[in-house]
Symmetry: C2
Subunit: 251 residues, 2 copies
DNA sequence: CGCCTAGTTGAGGTAAGTCAATTCACGTGG
DNA sequence: CCACGTGAATTGACTTACCTCAACTAGGCG
């Protein structure tokens, strides 16, 4: 468990050699702590470092000129923070910790060097980035075309699935430090409506979100209700070639 | 102009050497044509090839279980089609041509081989992918937090900016083969409402969309109205800015 | 004790959706 | 050449999902 969460995540995707793990290890330059509510990366900033989240939760968001906020995604341990900012050389969004967080810093130059010298690692990182993009796309679909309750259900399920992959959740539920305001800005609703929708889902016996804990009261009917497809979260990478489970699902 | 649009796009981001251009050239295996309305990639399919769009327009989308469609993005010449599907090894979305299109096919194995043997090319492709992701994020923000008219204005401006980069548009306007139904599914509105919003923008003297042509009647006030920030579309890559050190290491 | 933040609930407003009718351009076959 | 069908755009009338405003509760903490 003191294996870096990122190594664990990438390892689940492709087997990494000793040498590759070593390169990965050397990337983690410095461990830092940031405190809840204090911006880590700011929109428009020219970034020279990305971070890997070790513990705690964060979220990336954009602010519109009229002050509204849209949360793009939440990050949990093992996720990159600001990877896109480094590649694009400027941050198009801000990142803020939800809780106090621990991260390790990765300098842009070290990252590019490591990726060019270790092609398989580059593939693995590219895979991670693609998986993140797939989540953003799914999020987009939800906001664009799902009703409020379905959106909420889908959101809670996706978060649960992601947390399960790093051992922080199960089909029973998970600890969740988010406020209803954060969820509102993530799924494009008002905080008031979030509250109503949560009540509805609770009264229908599907999920309960209370006191920082999400409990799946009836996982299966929630999945059914939310039209939740978790295949896009699968830990299946190129090495696993067209693996049996994928084929089964496609068939 | 018979330069491959992709080479032109990547070239704008970082200067590519002869050798790198040559690798890029060899990627283009086979030129193919697809016809308007016939699926090119299907949701759930296990992909072994991506495509580079040479001419025509396409769109990537997802279908929900209740039959609703959310269009994630439109692709124009120079864009990759299905790059994420290849990296993730399964397509999480479908792609369909809007018009008849010409593409060149890129086999997954060739792509991975080229990227691992030519690190700078990998960086460039990673940059392209990140730029696409930034667009999806901006799209997400629009759907989540902007009103219908602002969303439409922003959408038309973004398309214009992208088309300008490949010489197919200007601040005066551009040819646009999209129907109001496609736009509706892209920006999360009903087709009827799209029509109303277009009328409103036209009557306010900002944009006119008629007969397959978008005309910016007052570009500046449209930008103002839409809160349009085009920085995320900049053709600014690592080479352009802080990059001397980065390049030195990568090279 | 008083203040702040998070959550909860009600009443009423509004942006956008649905349903439906009409027009127009286009192609196709009688 | 015209009748017909089809897909796109347009507009009106009505509905609804979600928002806003506002009041109130409950817990944490200086």
């Amino acid at each position: 468990m003191e294996t870096r969460p990122l190594a664990r995540k990438l390892g689940a995707f492709m087997a990494l050699s000793e040498a590759e793990l070593c390169v990965l290890e050397r990337l983690h330059k410095r461990r830092r702590t940031f405190f809840a509510g204090r911006d880590l990366v700011h929109q428009g900033q020219a970034d020279q470092a990305a971070y890997i989240l070790v513990s705690g939760w964060a979220y990336s968001y954009k602010i519109l000129h009229d002050g509204q906020r849209q949360i793009v995604d939440f990050q949990i341990p093992g996720d990159f923070l600001g990877l896109r900012s480094v590649v694009l050389h400027v941050s198009d969004h801000s990142i803020e910790p939800v809780t106090d967080i621990e991260v390790t810093e990765v300098h842009a130059s070290d990252l590019f060097k490591a990726l060019s010298e270790t092609p398989r690692l580059a593939t693995a990182v590219f895979w991670t980035a693609s998986r993140d993009e797939a989540m953003v796309v799914e999020h987009l679909v939800g906001i664009g075309r799902r009703g409020a309750a379905e959106r909420m259900a889908h959101f809670l399920l996706e978060l649960g699935a992601r947390l399960s992959l790093v051992g922080m959740g199960s089909k029973a539920g998970y600890a969740c430090p988010l406020t209803q305001y954060l969820i509102a800005d993530a799924i494009g609703l008002s905080a008031v409506h979030v509250n109503r929708v949560l009540r509805q889902l609770r009264e229908q016996g599907m999920v309960t979100f209370r006191d920082g804990h999400v409990t799946f009261d009836d996982y299966d009917s929630l999945v059914e209700f939310a039209d939740f497809e978790e295949s896009y979260l699968d830990q299946v990478g190129p090495t696993a070639q067209v693996s049996a489970p994928v084929l089964a699902r496609v068939a």
